[in-house]
Each structure stands twice: as structure tokens, then as C-alpha cells.
Amino acid sequence: MTLFHQKFHGSLAVLAFSIAAFVAPVQAAEEKVLNIYNWSDYIGPDTISNFEKETGIKVRYDNFDTNEILHAKLVAGKTGYDLVVPSSNWAKIQLEGGLLMPLDKSKIPNLKNLDTNLMKQLGTMDPGNAYITPWLWGVTTVGINVDKVKAAIGGPLPENVWDLLFKPEYASKLKSCGISMLDSADEVFPAAMRYVGKPAYSKNSADYQVAANMLKNIRPFVTLFSSSGYINDMAGGSICVALGWNGDINIAASRAKEAKNGNNIVSLVPSTGAVLFFDTMAIPSDAAHPENAHKFINYILRPEVNAELTNKVFYANGVPSSTKFIKPEVASNKSVFMTPEDLAKMVPPEAVNNDIRRLRTRLFTTFKTGR
């Protein structure tokens, strides 16, 4: 470190620096900067500013809205980011490809706060929990505008709420009030596959054709493909059914409540199950400020900081002791903190190989373009 700095400083500075380096080795060396790349609408209002105040580290915070974008940046390398938040099944590909840096657990004492069951689940993607720690987790599910949906279908909700999206008899009636789907094969296909009775992450290409045939029939009724804009569209009432993430749908519900526009939005917990996702903090292998990234991870894993995330964005977290800091209306929301019975019906995400990815993308393009 000192050698590196000598090139850039005058001799006096070098002298001063050498003394400083002698007194406080290594720690003083890393620049007080941290570059974070996280999902949009995914952080508490004061999370960053409190960290900056406490540590004096200046945070630059950028957003993405699909795993694909983050993955492509990591593959290209030199992202400039020190902390990224991939979903666990993508992190598996990234850590196996050498794109992530193993964590120095001695620098993250708050790892002890983490839920052991959750860590076991992440262990299926990251053996020994060496690379990733949970940010928040949730489920890809169905969100509805209760009154508009009931009016459109003229009766009670179907037993299997996925029917609203995937059964032409319901979807055709809901077209007029707006149906939205996440704009990613990686999100739509696992849900569609389960609906047609196939494994969500099947390795058999014929299974995907079955799901594609089902999707083809409901394509005329889908009015929007969106992975972040649908929050406001739901809140504003131009979308009444969405295939989306539970937290996003709850954000839409709270925005509608704030706007007092009468849109009653609910994130449903399908009795037939849905696919979970686990978003995780990871450090790219070429990060310039790994020290600061470790500090940030440790900070996020504090119960009160973790609770602030959940309070703002309505996703469950991985720190059980944060419960006492969570607002009662969020803590009691069964779509955020699912009951053990509901949770048992959900399926965890898996990584797929390149061939299956290509097949899904291709079928998704056919689906979207309606050909």
C-alpha cells in the first residue's frame, strides 16, 4: 500500500504517510468510498446516510432492475462497484465463474444475527456461505387491485390465484383493467412452469414448450411487461393484476394508500405455492474497496438497520432479532412474513444452464411478440 502511494505523493507526504502507515497499518489505506449496485426501490430512507455519518465513507448508490443487467456487468468486469446484490441462483453462477470475492468473516461479526435456516438455503448455492449474505428475500407472486378484479371477473377469486394470470377465462376479463408481467424470462417461466405442473427450473426442454403453449393462449390479455414501472401503474390503477414481487406489490399498496385514490392493492399468497427469491450481498472479485464493503455488510446485518429495510420496502429479511424494530402493520402482513404453512408450499430458486436460459429467452420473445 505504501509503495502504491509513494508514486503519487511528494517526499514530505511520503514521510508523513510512512509514519501514519506504521502507526495504523492497512486500515487507513483504503479510500473512504463505497460504490453500491442494488435493485431499485430496495433500501430504507436513512440506510445510506446513517452509514455515511457513522463511518465517514462516501457511498455512491446505483440501481438495476433485473439480474441479467448485473450479471452482464460482472462478466464484463471492472464494474467499479464494491458491493452488488445478485439473487442467490445468479450468485451461484457468478461465484463459480470467479466473479465474486470470498468474504472475510472475521470482519463481519454480525453474521451471528442471521437466521440459520435461511443460511442453510443459501448454502445450496454457496457452499459454506463463503461469498454471499442475505439482503432481503421474497416471492414472485400475484398482486391484485381487489375491487377492480372482483368487478371484472364478476365473482369471488379463484381457488388458485394463478388462474387470474394464466387461465384465459379469467385473464380475458381482466384485460380491460390491465395485466402486467415482469419483463424477464427468468421470472415468468418458473411461475408458468409450476402452473402447468412442471418443475419450475426443469432441465427438460420439452417441459418449457408446454409452458410456452399455455402462455401463448393468454398473451392477448397481457397489457404491460415491466419489472419496475408496474409499481406506480398498480398504485395509480392502470394495472389490476400483476405478476410481480411481493414487496413491490406492497409498495404499490402503500403508495395507493398515501395517495388516497381508493385503489386497494393486495399481494396474494398463492395456496398452490410460488417461487421464492433470495437477494444477497456480494463483493465483486475486482472491487476497489472491499474493506468498506465488509463494513457495510456488517452494518446492514444489525437488527435495527435490517428492520429499516423491511419497514420501507416490505420484504422479509434474514435477521430474526430485527422483528422487534419492525412496524406492526408490516410485521402482521402475511405476504411479507409468511406463515410456516405458507412458506412450506413455496419453492426455492435454482440456477439453470446456458442452454435452458437460451430456450427460455427464445420462448419468452415468442410469447411477448405474440407470434
Binding site: 450479471h71 465463474g97 466473479l99 424477464s184 420473445t365
Partner: protein, 305 residues
């Protein structure tokens, strides 16, 4: 003394000329040729995990091996998605170019025929949109064309329609956005061409008995041919690969090569395939351009252009 000066003058002359001519070549090599060859190389590379690429060339024990895979190009021909998308992109680019020409030509003609004192003002008005970010201007169309947007609200208020017309996320909204964005690129070269035209030629045509329409078709249009070509190229070429406008204003059913490239890079993480798609697009555009250029040069050579 004087011979020395002329020698220095000659040196400056020769090297100065090389410097001036060399600058654009250097620029083209740096920002066009080198990146193109990087993409070309990627398109014939192979990778198992989509993260690390195999070496294209190896030199082991005095054996030089070159492994170039053209499987991506084969795949490109096998799956009709790609050909359909090229077709669709070229179609939209052609429509865009024609509309720009039909709106832009009278526009440029009017500017070129207006009083000299007015021209700088008109020119500034044409380039004024460039002062705001293009992303913002494209986004603004959403506010205008949305179901609850300005146009629909106005029409409903006027009683012309009861239900909002679906304009947003259709081929219509995309075309509007493309024409709006690329129109200045058509007007400016046309204007530069038309403003230089000798007005006496029209007078001569009139004297010889040609009416205004006849004079326009037989004199003005042929003389502005180079302006039409330049403007059409400036509009057509970037329209083919346009990504932002179709994403923001187009519908999910609009196939554009920009989106397919996105899918290859991001959704499939298949850089080789993405590169093959890009290379093929460049060839599709460059080949007719080169042919045209050859024809054009020959025409100039014969002195008929």
C-alpha cells in the same frame, strides 16, 4: 536562405496535409475498425460458462492453431427470429426515413427559400431540440400519447372520442418517436444542399415553359439528390439499430434488432451470439452502402452526378 524557407514550407505543406488527412483516418481506425474487429473476434469465439472465452489462437510446440467457430452464424440462419427481426428493423427504418423525407424536404425547401436574415433563426429552431436530452424528449411522448395522456384527454374533452385511443406502446407511438427524433438529421443536410442551389436555374426552366411543379421535379429534386441521399443515410442507418425509442415507446410485439441484441447479451449472456448478430447487421447495412457508393463514384467519374 530562400531555398531553406521553401524547403521548410514544403515540409510543413507535406506533413501538414498528412496530419489533416490522417486525423479522420486515425479516428475511424480507433473508434470504428478496432471495436468492429473486437466484436468480430468475439462472434467466432467459444465459451462454456459464458464468462471465460477460449483462446482463438494457440502456439504450442511450434504449432500455430486458429480456432474460429462459425456456429453462431449457422444458428442465426437456422432460427427465423433473427431474419424476421432484421426484416422488421429494416422495415421500420425505411418507414422512418420516408416520413422524415416527406416532412423534411418541404421544411428544408422553405428554410432555403426564406429571406437570408431569417435563415439563422430557422436553423436555430431546427437544432433547438438538441439542447434538451434526447431521452427526456422521447420520454415526454409518453405523457402525450398515454391512455390518460394529453392527446387522449383533449380528444375526450372535445367529445371526439369516448374511450381513450390506444396509442402508447404500439408501432404508431414508436414511429412518432423515431420521426420526431431523426427529423433534424434529414432537414439539416437537405437545407445545406438546397440553400446553395442557383435560383436562376428555376428561372431558366420557367422561361423554357416549365410550370412550377415541372421545374421542381426536373430541376430542384435532381439537383438536391446528394442532400436527399445524405439525409436519408443519416436517418436510416441509426434507425436500424435504434434501441432506446423502441424500448420506451414501442410495444412488446415490435421486433427490433436492438432488443434481440439486449436479450443475447443480458438474458442469454451469450456474447458470441450477440456479436454475431451485430456483425451481421453491420454487413447488412454496409454492403448496400458500399455498392451504392461505388455506383455514385462511377457516376461522378462520368460527370453525370
Amino acid at each position: 536562405m530562400s531555398t531553406a524557407t521553401t524547403l521548410i514550407d514544403k515540409m510543413v505543406d507535406r506533413w501538414g496535409r498528412r496530419l489533416v488527412i490522417g486525423t479522420p483516418y486515425l479516428y475511424l481506425i480507433l473508434v470504428f475498425s478496432i471495436p468492429f474487429f473486437v466484436v468480430l473476434k468475439l462472434s467466432v469465439s467459444t465459451s462454456n460458462d459464458g464468462i471465460r472465452f477460449e483462446d482463438l489462437t494457440t502456439f504450442n510446440d511450434w504449432v500455430f492453431n486458429l480456432t474460429a467457430s462459425f456456429q453462431k452464424y449457422r444458428f442465426l440462419l437456422q432460427d427465423d427470429l433473427y431474419l424476421n427481426t432484421y426484416g422488421s428493423s429494416l422495415k421500420f427504418a425505411t418507414i422512418n426515413t420516408l416520413i422524415c423525407l416527406f416532412i423534411g424536404y418541404p421544411f428544408a425547401y422553405f428554410m432555403a427559400r426564406s429571406p437570408v436574415s431569417m435563415r439563422p433563426v430557422l436553423l436555430m429552431l431546427v437544432s433547438l431540440p438538441f439542447w434538451t436530452s434526447y431521452l427526456l424528449r422521447v420520454y415526454a411522448w409518453r405523457g402525450l400519447l398515454d391512455d390518460s395522456g394529453t392527446v387522449n384527454s383533449l380528444l375526450i374533452w372535445l367529445g371526439a372520442i369516448d374511450e381513450p385511443i390506444k396509442m402508447m406502446h404500439t408501432a404508431f407511438s414508436m414511429t412518432v418517436g423515431m420521426v420526431y427524433t431523426y427529423l433534424p438529421f434529414m432537414i439539416l443536410p437537405l437545407y445545406a444542399n438546397l440553400v446553395k442551389m442557383d435560383g436562376r436555374l428555376i428561372e431558366a426552366a420557367n422561361d423554357l415553359g416549365a410550370g412550377p411543379m415541372r421545374a421542381f421535379w426536373l430541376v430542384t429534386v435532381p439537383l438536391s439528390k446528394n442532400g436527399i441521399i445524405a439525409g436519408s443515410m443519416l436517418v436510416f442507418i441509426p434507425s436500424v439499430g435504434e434501441y432506446v425509442i423502441p424500448e420506451l415507446l414501442g410495444g412488446p410485439e415490435t421486433l427490433m434488432i436492438g432488443r434481440v441484441l439486449w436479450d443475447e447479451f443480458f438474458a442469454n449472456n451469450d456474447w458470441a451470439m450477440a456479436s454475431a448478430v451485430a456483425v451481421t447487421m453491420v454487413i447488412l447495412i454496409l454492403f448496400p452502402l458500399a455498392l451504392f457508393n461505388k455506383y455514385q463514384t462511377a457516376a461522378v467519374g462520368r460527370g453525370t452526378a
